[in-house]
Amino acid sequence: MKNYSKPTVFLLSLWPIYIITYQIFYNKLGPEPVDRIINYFGEWTLIFILLTLSMTPLKKITKSLEWIKFRRMLGLFAFFYASIHMLSYVGLDYRFDFEPLINDVLKKKFVFIGFSAWLLLVPLAITSSDKMLRLLRHNWKKLHRLIYIIAIFGSLHFIWLSKTILFKPLIYLIILLFLLSFRIKFKKST
């Protein structure tokens, strides 16, 4: 059973891809398909960041080390979906027209913080291999604490792009704060 857990999580993590492929194929994206694709992958990015951050709390609650072996994969999926999210904005929506894009990054704080979050994800993805882990040693852990900042940035990105105070972005923020609270307690107890 144990041997199949990782491939299973991998195939389940591709769920958003199955759904969007079906929707593109059967023309079910609604009247504003580009907008829908961007938002869809943006939301899945947040979900995968939260999933990644859930592994440590789950480890503590269940007192099982099993969870940690999924953490890297989930984190890489977060980067994968963040990249699709960013690329669909840059390529599908703005056709790689960099003038308005740069303008967006500089002028719109939600774009700025979202883009920053993606940039910060890049070094984490690059250093995710075992080899890099060994190479960086204790610095690896320090570097990968960036995920907390990235998660906060991602959550703010969603809140700031919302037109008014909306339910959904706040739910994500509350879950994030809940997951981060485990880290604070962890520090105190050691």
């Binding site: 593109i24 009247p31 504003e32 580009v34 056709r95 719109k108 792009l161 037109k163």
Partner: protein, 299 residues
Amino acid sequence: MKIYKYSEITPERIYNKRRSFIKSMGYGLGALSISSIPLINAKAKVPNEPTSYEDITTYNNYYEFGTSKSDPHRRAKNFTTRPWSIKIEGHVEKPLELSIEEVLSIKSEERILKLRCVEGWSMIIPWLGFSLSKLLDKVEIKSSAKFVEFETVYNPDEMVGQRYPVLNWPYIEGLRIDEAMHPLTTVVTGLYGKPLPNQNGAPLRIFIPWKYGFKSAKSIVKIRLTEKMPNTAWKNASPREYGFYSNVNPEVDHPRWSQATERVIGESILAPRIKTLMFNGYGDEVAYLYSGMDLKKNY
């Protein structure tokens, strides 16, 4: 035999749209209304291929029924629009209360107008309606009146969105008097030749084609002529983002959405954005209203 270039052939999708559009003209519209279409559109310089009925009636920003664009279509189905009356009051000589039947007896015409949402998308809608000035002429506006305020019905029993403080309910919108009297400011009574669907603001809404969509209040119960600038809903919620005028202006950026370009609703996933036009393409008709005004300050 003449050989047609591909570009000269009407795509089936548009052909079908035309068919359904022509069909919809059959719903009791006179020849007069048909003749008014090219008139409005020739001046407007916007393409006149209407967005599909389905997209117009399933993709709506109408926060009284929820904040998702698919909410109004689902939740407005059983919204009560009869009996309905509309009060015109404030700085007027003859305050008036009209039943919806009386309003609908005023002759509507087809007006194909472009809707540009502040979120950066647009539709072309074949509205049915008449100029607001026809209503306002009935009440003899006093010279002290400077603005017109529109009030949406407050009905949280049926408008579930009004149970949450997303905006200050009821929804208030407003115009300067000269904007309100402009012939393009339309009282909307229907679309695609049919009565106005609930999710589009039944039984009665206004439509101001050169302003962002949120300026065009829906389900109106009160029109008030005032001395002071109305405290409009979105300006009230976030004055930095939404001004009183809210004219479509590609040069004034919004903190969230690009106003330089827009996506056309109903286009394919591969269709590019199009350039947003000053006053949504109605500059020839309305630019004079703002001559001498700094539209970057008065956004």
